[in-house]
């Protein structure tokens, strides 16, 4: 038994060092999202995570879509991060919207050609939709929502709504695929247009890119809420309302406070279900995961599922009438008070940003 484990451990080690030897110089592929001609910050967090496993500091970024915005995003990718050594661009109408069928096929195509050791994406709705499908096509088990990379193939990820941390070892063949939690890999090394370090951009050859699945899904529309507030996932300050806010109108009070603090607005499932705010503002196990410097919760009881989405915030403030609310067990500062008294007072007394 022990001998078998030993030999397996040895075999794994020799396989990984062997593959490091034979693999090409570039061995990590990051699937990136872009918007308005820029690579999204969450994708750059995935590049940071790739930097942990890819000691040679060489990472390829894959961008897809069509039109001038794609080319702008490619030049942004080429110069925005010192760890990026190559930008792959796949331009096709079928890739204009992030359809999982086309993207998964694209990843399979790129993997078959270049043989990456790692394929990574952020745990956004984009990454979660696409990466597992691509992993199935490549017959490997992906790892979801990695929060820590201890060794190149040893990862920590939360399970049971973040109430336990699971350390897993990937023992399969290349590529090792994962989505990473952006808030656990903050972007440290942004270089602004360092032309000298700009990575080469190359087009992915899509001549063999055809398969019967590609026509089976069609993108119809995206209904998005325009908001001037910072993006919930990346904001430094988040103010959240729960059922205690009582109405959509009262959420406007919260928005005023957010404006004053330069904060993003979040919500609990109860507030979303009651129709106070749209569901993309939901923070929790099944909504967005945030880890801002300051998280202020108004009228939030602190259910397990909500805590899963914000427990890694640096400073947590809770305002709740109920002194027994579980949110006070994770809050650094608590106010047992009526939020309708506290909100206006804070609005008045907070310093201007």
């Amino acid at each position: 038994m022990v001998a078998a484990m030993m030999s397996r451990a040895l075999r794994n080690r020799s396989i990984s060092s062997f593959s490091a030897l034979v693999s090409r110089f570039i061995s990590t592929l990051v699937l990136a999202e872009h918007e308005g001609g820029l690579v999204k910050p969450s994708s750059l967090s995935a590049v940071e995570a790739a930097g942990v496993v890819c000691k040679e500091k060489s990472i390829s970024v894959l961008l897809a879509g069509s039109g001038p915005r794609l080319q702008e995003a490619a030049s942004h990718a080429a110069s925005c991060h010192p760890l990026i050594s190559q930008v792959l661009v796949a331009e096709a109408d079928i890739l204009k919207h992030p359809l999982a069928e086309a993207w998964a096929k694209l990843i399979q195509l790129v993997q078959q050609k270049d043989g990456y050791s790692y394929i990574m994406a952020a745990s956004s709705s984009f990454g979660k939709n696409i990466l597992p499908r691509a992993a199935a096509l490549l017959d490997v088990s992906p790892v979801t929502d990695v929060v820590e990379i201890s060794e190149p193939r040893l990862f920590v990820r939360p399970i049971y709504a973040g109430n336990a941390l699971c350390t897993v070892r990937y023992t399969g063949s290349d590529p090792c695929m994962m989505t990473i939690r952006s808030t656990s890999f903050p972007i440290s090394s942004i270089s602004n247009d360092s032309k000298a370090g700009a990575a080469p951009i190359s087009q992915v050859d899509l001549s063999t890119f055809s398969e019967e699945t590609l026509g089976k899904s069609r993108w119809l529309k995206l209904a998005s809420q325009d908001s001037e507030r910072p993006d919930l996932g990346n904001a430094h300050v988040v103010v959240t309302g729960g059922r205690g806010l009582k109405s959509a109108d009262n959420f406007k009070l919260l928005e005023k406070l957010a404006e004053k603090l330069g904060a993003a607005v979040g919500a609990t499932r109860a507030a979303v279900d009651a129709g106070f705010v749209p569901n993309e503002l939901q923070v929790g196990q099944t909504g967005k995961i945030v880890a801002p410097d300051l998280y202020i919760a108004f009228g939030v009881s602190g259910a397990i599922q909500h805590l899963a989405g914000m427990r890694d915030s640096k400073v947590i403030v809770a305002v709740n009438k109920d002194a027994d609310a579980p949110i006070f067990q994770v809050a650094d500062y608590g106010l047992v008070a009526d939020l309708f008294d506290v909100l206006p007072e804070m609005l008045e007394k907070l310093p201007e940003k």
């Binding site: 350390t167 640096k314 500062y333």
Partner: protein, 253 residues
Amino acid sequence: MKIMVAVKRVVDYAVKIRVKADKSGVETSNVKMSMNPFCEIAVEEALRIRESGAASEVVAVSVGPAQCADTLRTALAMGADRAIHVDSGALAPLLPLSVAKILKALAETERPGLMILGKQAIDDDCNQTGQMVAGLLKWPQGTFASKVLLDKEKQVATVEREVDGGLETLSLDLPAVITTDLRLNQPRYATLPNIMKAKSKVIKKVSLEELNVEIKSDLEVVQVTEPPKRKAGVILSSVDELIDKLKNEARVL
């Protein structure tokens, strides 16, 4: 048309879980188990589609140890027509890739027009199985669905999806795979007469050998630990005190 729904037995969502002292996992013996909440939503959606006349049969499937039969019984009590239990015996929880391969094998014999799964199980929080089975079957996928409309004539499903920036709408040719988000529907409760009726419905048992699926284990759980505890906080008495603490102690303002 037939709809296949995959359901998973998990620790009840309201249970505060305990990590085992030997770090091998989470305590699941003598803990309340229930159907994964997202799977309940999947069953409900399948039933609604059948009730609208767009489907004729709902088949619930589950992969796992013997107790999974209870979870399938719940699906039958909600209104599913019959169930298939793939007994994984003593094998530890299977990885999503293996479950996806099992579901693919079942889909190839059952030939459903639609497969509905929850978007994630609340125990492993993987959010993978639906996407993987869609990939293996080469079917289109509509993940994180908050609205599903079926056009029986055109054999097309219109799916509204919850994405980071808002709501995205896709049109999928059937057969397709859909995974449910929380806001898709409100699952019904099984009534007592339906619970009684469910006892006479069939749960077909299938072994892994019969399906001839290769079970992969390319991910090894090294340890399961408790997350770091947060330092105890303080209860303040006024807004002034709070602003002062945030400015001068936490220095976040």
